[in-house]
């Protein structure tokens, strides 16, 4: 049996992008929530993502790297269409990344400036990612209505990342910040509900391919489990945040787990809609794939190295587990 290499790399790329969205999603979300907290809480928030943000961002490099290496034609095509939002995202990520370092070392109004840029960078990167999602799933169609749709998906991804960031803070902090984060999580939930609903309605309406995939009998019945499960995860987070607020339960991990489930399920739905296209209705993964010889070489390396990466990532999260308290250097 010969291995379907493009398919394998599609799965690898999907996993990398999902890992990126969830992992960098929570730290971008924390960045966006900064203005809603007081100065001491801001230090705790930054401390909660400090050891991780850099490695989290590396999943983006891996995802884009796989796109570049395994599907070079699609890389040029997709990123060519998304050129300006990509530039906006990169500038956002740059500002966020260096602001993280600069704000720690700065004093006075410099520190305020970098705090502000930390928020702005997180927001710009998140919004640009959501905007790109909107452009991507509508096949890069031109027109004001499509533009508006992408603005909505941009806002929804910001809301989704706020949900991840807030539930991360529920998990990692205590006291007043913990309670604030519970309230933020619910705002994030409302935004992500809007976003998921919007995308779920728009894609079948816009694309015949997607409509057939979801609504042709008899596939529809089992497929409906996906939106049902997403709804259940959504409800789970809503209920869990409520109970945590009333101190009825102590499972601080529950909202974050639910948020990750929402993202994973929504991602799975999108992946199902698109497959086997890498550019909607235009380019399949097999036509976009690189030469098998280079795919094999990369796959061999990935099979050896990825388990190691997962192992030491796990170790790093173990080392820094538990609640973060306010820093001592104040």
């Amino acid at each position: 049996m010969s291995l379907d290499l493009p398919l394998v790399f599609t799965v690898l790329m999907g996993v990398s992008i999902l890992a990126y969205v969830v992992l960098d999603g929570y730290d971008l979300g924390v960045g966006m929530l900064m203005p809603a907290a007081d100065a001491a809480q801001q230090e705790t928030m930054v401390a909660s993502i400090g050891p991780f943000w850099d490695a989290n961002e590396t999943w983006l490099v891996l995802g884009v790297g796989i796109l570049l290496v395994a599907f070079p034609v699609a890389h040029g095509f997709v990123l060519g269409y998304l050129y300006l939002p990509v530039v906006a995202m990169l500038i956002g990520l740059m500002l966020r990344g260096v602001a993280f370092e600069f704000r720690i070392k700065a004093v006075g109004w410099h520190r305020e400036l970098w705090n502000w840029l930390f928020w702005f960078g997180s927001f710009l990167a998140s919004f640009a990612q959501g905007f790109m999602l909107g452009r991507y799933i509508t096949g890069f169609e031109a027109g004001f209505d499509y533009f508006l749709f992408s603005v909505m998906t941009g806002a929804s991804v910001c809301g989704g990342y706020v949900l991840l960031g807030a539930t991360w803070l529920v998990l990692r902090t205590d006291g007043a910040l913990h309670d604030k984060a519970l309230a933020w999580a619910r705002w994030g939930l409302l935004w992500i509900a809007l976003g998921v609903a919007l995308v779920s309605l728009a894609t079948p309406l816009l694309s015949e391919t997607v409509r057939h995939k979801w609504f042709d009998f008899p596939a529809t019945a089992p497929l409906m489990l996906l939106p049902l499960a997403t709804g259940a995860a959504w409800l789970w987070v809503w209920v869990a945040t409520g109970r945590l607020k009333r101190k009825a339960i102590a499972a601080d991990w529950a909202p974050f787990a639910g948020a990750v489930a929402i993202f994973t399920l929504a991602f799975a739905g999108l992946a199902y809609s698109l497959f086997p296209y890498i550019v909607m209705d235009k380019l399949t993964i097999w036509r976009a794939a690189a030469h098998p010889s280079s795919l094999k070489v990369v796959l061999a390396g990935a099979l050896v190295v990825l388990p190691l990466i997962l192992a030491y990532t796990f170790v790093s999260y173990r080392i820094f587990r538990g609640k973060v308290s306010a820093p001592l250097y104040h």
Partner: protein, 450 residues
């Protein structure tokens, strides 16, 4: 908007990004190993001064590393957006090399950087030392893969064509292509020199304000010794690299030496204004036959001129001048490092003029490194991959307006980042290790605790 303008903008933008990016890995690549030295010395001696030194330089490292990471992510996108033809033509070789860099280096350094920065009080000492080592290994691996790719673009080897598609025939030959060992060594030493001057320069800056700072006196000495050892080695390696280039990319050498016409007993052009229109040098100051002697180690050897390669020859003026800037700065670095060694002999305190000189030379490695990269990259033109792919054939379809707008945004962002970087670095150095009293690890290590 014609094609040449889009090509110019795509090159300007990519050149700006890669030129900005390279500043930071050039420091972190070697600084990571200096941190290993500081960390191991502390583990051995338990001397609080070593801890304070480590703590200070870890902050410099973290800042520099972040600058490198964020500007590096831009590169991973621009390979596709600015040069789609590059991946189309040689992606089967370039892709796996880039993928191995991400897989073996990026995750390793990013993850253990977290442990190194924030984990000192959370993990056993051996694990913290190991994390510091793994960060250094990660940065060096990253340099290994990216320089393998760059060298392959300069002197491609090990590839075959299968039904018109370029693929790797022998990966060992691809990676260890003819110029790779020289370029890798040259770059690693360049990083060593750059980091050594940053360490010496910032320590000197501190000593100008606090002459009795013991930790700064020690790091000044470390920087000076490393620089004094590496500078002459670099000149030797540079010469070998030059001979290698003469063999594999003679057009680049013709440009560097501003030799327009093939001749025996070529002179060494010390200074001139190369005139591309008339294919000759104006106001040239030359030493007869020395060019042949240096390049071929034979005073009467024939050296091929630009005329032998035209029209596939690089532009002469930029690489001629960049090469002289690189060598000039390199020689000045050697002179200063050796003077430093003399004045600091036997534990003497440095005179103030010497401290000023080192402070002034803090970022001298940046100038030499950038000049060196200009020589090697512009010297490869008009090729993107020598003999395989022309730069003009790899450019994408991004419109000039989009390129122009994004170029402006990048320039503004980079200017802000660079100014902030230099200001914060001087500020950190000026405060010295005073901000980190003995016994307390990185203040931020305290930020996260159980």
């Amino acid at each position: 908007m014609d094609g040449s303008e889009a090509l110019f903008l795509a090159r300007a933008q990519f050149g700006l990004n890669i030129g900005f990016h390279i500043l930071f890995p050039t420091i972190t690549l070697a600084l990571a190993w200096l941190l290993v030295f500081f960390r191991v010395r502390y583990a051995q001696t338990r001397d609080p001064d070593w801890l304070a030194t480590y703590t200070l330089w870890v902050k410099v490292f973290a800042l520099t590393f972040a600058m490198g990471v964020v500007s590096g992510i831009v590169m991973s996108f621009q390979f596709g957006t600015n040069w789609p033809g590059f991946m189309r033509a040689v992606g089967n070789v370039a892709g796996p090399l880039l993928a191995y860099e991400v897989l073996t280096a990026f995750f390793l350094e990013a993850t253990f950087l977290g442990v190194m920065l924030f984990g000192m009080n959370r993990v056993p000492s051996w694990l913290h030392v190991l994390s510091t080592v793994l960060v250094a290994v990660g940065t060096s691996l990253s340099a290994f893969w990216i320089l393998a790719l760059n060298s392959w673009m300069q002197t491609p080897a090990g590839h075959v064509f299968e039904e018109g598609v370029l693929i790797a025939g022998d990966w060992i030959e691809v990676i260890f292509n003819p110029s790779f060992p020289y370029r890798f060594t040259h770059m690693m030493i360049a990083s060593g020199l750059t980091a050594a001057f940053v360490v010496a320069g910032l320590s000197a800056w501190r000593l100008l304000r606090a002459p009795d700072d013991r930790a700064a006196r020690r790091t000044l000495r470390v920087g000076v010794v490393v620089a004094a050892v590496l500078a002459p080695v670099q000149i030797l390696v540079g010469d070998l690299h030059g001979l290698n280039t003469l063999k594999h990319q003679p057009a680049k050498i013709a440009g560097i030496e501003a030799i327009w016409k093939t001749e025996r007993g070529a002179p060494l052009v010390l200074f001139a204004i190369p005139d591309a229109q008339q294919q000759r040098n104006r106001w040239a100051i030359e030493v007869p036959k020395l060019g042949s002697l240096i390049l071929a180690h034979d005073a009467d050897a024939e050296i091929k001129g630009i005329d032998a390669f035209a029209p596939d020859a690089p532009p002469v003026a930029p690489i001629f001048f960049a090469f002289r800037i690189m060598v000039g700065v390199g020689v000045a670095m050697l002179a200063l490092a050796w003077s430093g060694l003399w004045w600091l002999r036997g534990g003497r305190a440095a005179p103030r003029w010497l401290l000023w000189a080192f402070a002034g030379f803090t970022f001298s490695g940046w100038i030499a490194t950038l000049a060196g990269w200009i020589v090697t990259e512009i010297g490869r033109q008009p090729w993107l991959v020598t003999g395989v792919l022309r730069t003009a054939d790899a450019v994408g379809a991004i419109s000039g307006a989009q390129l122009g707008a994004s170029l402006t945004a990048y320039v503004l962002t980079y200017a802000l980042m660079l100014v902030a970087y230099v200001v914060v670095l001087t500020h950190l150095a000026g405060a010295g290790t005073a901000g980190a009293p003995a016994g307390v690890a990185d203040t931020r290590a305290e930020a996260v605790h159980a």
